[in-house]
Symmetry: D2
Subunit: 362 residues, 4 copies
């Protein structure tokens, strides 16, 4: 099953890039929250194309229409469904039917999975466009979580060979400022370096990957569980459902490989009568459960597969090798648009964990 | 909920390190498979302590007792439950009640999560010992998958600063040989380097981390789904439930950050009338669905938190800072024992995906 | 969670009676089925109001708009979402905000459940109108099941004190004929008796209940499971989610109370080399699993709570006792419109069981 | 999947009648509850055979062994697993392998479902013996619910043609007294009539069915949800997983068929500043959600299929018609033993609803 998620907060995602509409239904969302629509639209705008010369100029009408679950601007506690109509979809960019398989895309795997009946147009249900409703749902969760004192910041920690600082070491960050940047980074000027690298890829009719880092502040200790519903399990499940994400790590992540136990352990200390750890190598999660420190994770994002260069492929129709030339404009670097998607998934995951915790009556 | 997993193949894990018994129930396992018990015990022996001077000499009686789901040596298609009695548990190693929180362990988070009612003895339900029933379940899945032509190999790709070759580049591997090695590695002699590094940590009353790499061969194209049940989502969900795993990546993983699209894409070509990719940067998964190439992933494993050195912590009872000295023997490096656990989780995940695919009738 | 169902076939229902739209998303539906839209609309028309003088003349524009999951008239195997816009909703019939609680309705329980934030207009999410998308989803399932040789017939077995024959005894039924009848019954002329009873209730500004009986033919033996996912468990779960259904029984149902084992057991016999039972007291289900005989069940449907008579209630606003007079036209008998809803739920349940069975690989 | 249940409180049932052991794992149970073992054993004793001349004298050693989830007599909040060893199982009563299919049993359907690999001995996984662990789990839930002010009473409302009063009309009942009775009934002396009917069946080498009625007092308003997780849906799902239950109804149930809306509706009134209904035809559930009135339901229980009389069947081995004579003692009437099972299922269902409600944060 591709498009349903959750036990306590439930999502049902639907739609194809060039179908009538895309959308999402979210069940289990708390009743009585006044929706800040402006803010939701702002989050969705961050994901929308055409924000900068790094992203495709294709303009989308991404304004979501809320069909249910909201009355007089407040959530009712019942399923919230929002849809986004598909407009300005230039199908001719994609050719007639799926024939030449686009490397790095799901053309082939989707064709096998759905026995050839899939909607191949513009990636269909696999399209990154499906992340728009996810950002909508995530923005609702973020707003609710904020009322509980939980906040989230993300930045592009790496783009190609250019690296930014890490939220593991950087503590005071102007979140609002970060959200405004086309390339949200921590170290002053590094975004210029990143843009150079991305433009170089663009000039070469190519694209480039990177790493997004996210930190969740304000979480209480006690969310999550050992084994199958660990914080890492729930979050990675969601993060790996973001197209292009191929790696997820928490705290020191793969850096743990070279650390000894004495370096990796986070010592406990009392601070103002509270138990804290003096370091946060674990990224705020121990034994699958939050320890009250910031939850920090990183996602590896592969370069957008759609590039201008001629590529080797095969023709489904002729069953023979062929060359592929993809026309139309595409993002040389998806990272700026992926940041709000990663944040949305994190918000959804934290909300699921929060509700699960809430169910743990005594 | 901590200890249940799956929609098509379902697991229920239970037990505490020092309780009566630990065990697992697996529902949805195919009927009619003749169980190769010797082989299951062999897998469990790989995980058991005392295999080498790298692992604690504490001997466990890890022989599982199958309580249900098997008749005349064949699976019945009904729930399979197996338990392992806890014996030789030297509680005195762990002191009286949870007081001094062990850094890197779940003592603190478990205490919060379970309101102080958790079984603190030897890590309780959080103990790595709980992975023994998981290896049992995984071994059953592996055996069934093998009958479908699916096989699995894993090795320690990194231990501290010592790195082995990668299964991304190494194609012919003697799986049986690999299973026999204390430190399963691809490059001849590299295990000796790794052992040196581990022993150095041991001498320093410390421990060391690493990376485990796994490859699943023989999977058909079409397993998995876009978004919430992508192959990466399902596998990472399971892999991150293994204690000490803090990072998971597929194919090039975090290496994708520096790759351009033209380098990251896997070109399609016809080979003997079959569609294949000439490279496998994606690790066998595109759009969340297997493409028929080997599925390759890596797990970052942190150093065992139990070390001989004195550590800073707090006393739950006094609410004051304190020093912690952990007595008793512990693994300087958990990786050799983690390998069969990672393989077991992969087998369980693939089985879940296989059954989900099977349900996709036409 | 109110509005999600299923493990193998998944549904997400959304919308309120007077919101923007109502709809449903169905995931896991087989790919490649050509949709017979005419037939779906015919099923939905059976549920729609205004079919006869027994049902409210309020006309609905119940034409569903399919937003996703269908391409060129064929299912893609991806989530199918369909919505129905709300039109001609005469809110003034319902007064300003929820104040006077309507007996038999969910005004009070919904108010408590959703902390007063529920959409109270016309029953909101609780409205029987939400069954329209369910009929849409069920019609798709019925069409697919028919291709597997599975068919379904239902009739009104009881309306007030008037009783029809039973599908337990009546074997050859003209299903098409039955679908055409305003009051689908087996015994010639009994519908006239029923209509009299209903009109008598209407004249008394009252309403009347009844029993709907359904038979599913053509199911293979082996669907379902013992205990928690028995055929009866899965079907009753769905049937009891239909507003107004307050009882469900299979085969002899409550009649079993007076039967001895020798009367209740269905003897086995060979017929053309097939194992059959010579009677079908069990209603085609033994040990929670289909036995290849027709699955037969009955649903008790309570009278529509909206009646013209003055009723005792309380005012939420004043917290005092009050009298309630419900204006506007309402169905004196919901049964004719409930029949296609019951069939839809049966089709959805059978499809879920079918897919679960399909996942039982060997 | 047969043997897993629940989203917030999760159960995994396992075992076969003549296997090593039967048992259950329950996850999500609240931490910190002191277990009253005596009381749990008392509940299990009610279900155990040999309580009276109505039930088979076969003595079972039904003492459960708790393997996990409990420390120092208190629940830890982690999975609770309990097993019951199988002893005194007189296999010879059941013949060599499944050959002659027992009418009314799951021999045939289980054989098809599990491709002939099922454990056929004594009903295997289908055996009523599997309800013992369910009673164990339910007793834990009942104890926790009692601490929240929720109590449960059940009685045999009908046995064959003999009918008891209804809990719809009988308000003050001595629950403790009821639990002590071999045939728990409300009306003085009616149990003698019932026993006569049962003994008459026994003398005729036959068995007899009946109806069990249960009332849950003390539930707050607001548990449950519209549609797919209505109180009726969740409870019926569990109740229909009890072997022999073939009908479930709430409040007036099938009696609603003859009631008009004016008779079926429960008028609202203020009482001591609380909103109540002056009648309880709905059985405490409106729109799928509890309304604060007692939840009342009834289960139809078919006669035990194992009878002394010769029955018609077929031989799986010869594929020919045959006569079946079942030797060994069997219950002429399962109802007395079914009562605690029904109560257990109700307790489990209410607990699931309670936790779901708890997760509805605001």
């Amino acid at each position: 099953m591709s498009s349903f998620f959750g036990q306590h907060l439930r999502l049902a995602l639907f739609g194809q890039s060039h179908g009538e509409a895309i959308g999402i239904t979210m069940d289990g969302f708390p009743a009585g929250m006044t929706i800040d629509m402006e803010r939701i639209l702002a989050e969705m705008a961050r994901r929308a194309p055409g924000q900068s010369n790094l992203t495709t100029p294709r303009k989308e009408a991404d304004a979501p229409e809320i069909l249910s679950g909201v009355l007089n601007g407040r959530t009712t506690g019942q399923p919230i469904c929002a849809i986004i109509r598909n407009t300005n979809t230039r199908s001719r960019d994609y050719g007639e039917g799926v024939d030449l398989l686009r490397p790095g895309h799901a053309d082939y795997t989707g064709h096998v999975r759905y026995f050839g009946f899939e909607d191949w147009r513009g990636g269909g249900h696999f399209s990154g466009r499906l992340t728009a409703p996810i950002v909508f749902a995530g923005a609702l969760c973020s707003q609710w979580l904020e009322q509980q004192g939980v906040s989230m910041i993300s930045h592009i920690q790496q783009l190609g060979s250019v690296k930014d600082d890490s939220l593991m070491d950087t503590f005071s960050v102007d979140a609002a400022e970060l959200k405004k940047m086309h390339l949200p980074v921590l170290r002053k000027g590094i975004d210029v370096e990143m843009e150079k690298e991305a433009m170089a890829a663009l000039r070469a009719q190519d694209s480039i990957g990177g790493v997004i880092e996210c930190r969740v502040d304000g979480l209480p200790a006690g969310l999550g569980a050992p084994f199958f519903d660990s914080v890492e399990s729930v979050l990675s499940h969601l993060l790996f459902s973001v197209p292009a994400v191929k790696g997820v790590e928490f705290g020191e992540g793969f850096g743990f490989a070279e650390l000894r136990g004495s370096q990796a352990n986070d010592p406990f200390r009392m601070a103002d009568g509270k138990i804290v750890t003096t370091t946060n190598h674990s990224g705020g999660v121990q034994g699958g459960i939050t320890n009250g420190m910031p939850v920090i994770f990183r996602c590896a994002v592969r370069a957008t597969p759609s590039i201008g260069q001629t590529q080797q492929t095969v023709s489904l129709k002729s069953g023979e090798n062929a060359d592929l030339n993809i026309h139309g404009r595409h993002d040389p670097c998806i990272l700026p648009r992926a940041v709000p998607v990663i944040e949305a998934m994190a918000a959804i995951g934290v909300m699921e964990l929060w509700k699960e915790r809430q169910a743990c009556v005594r």
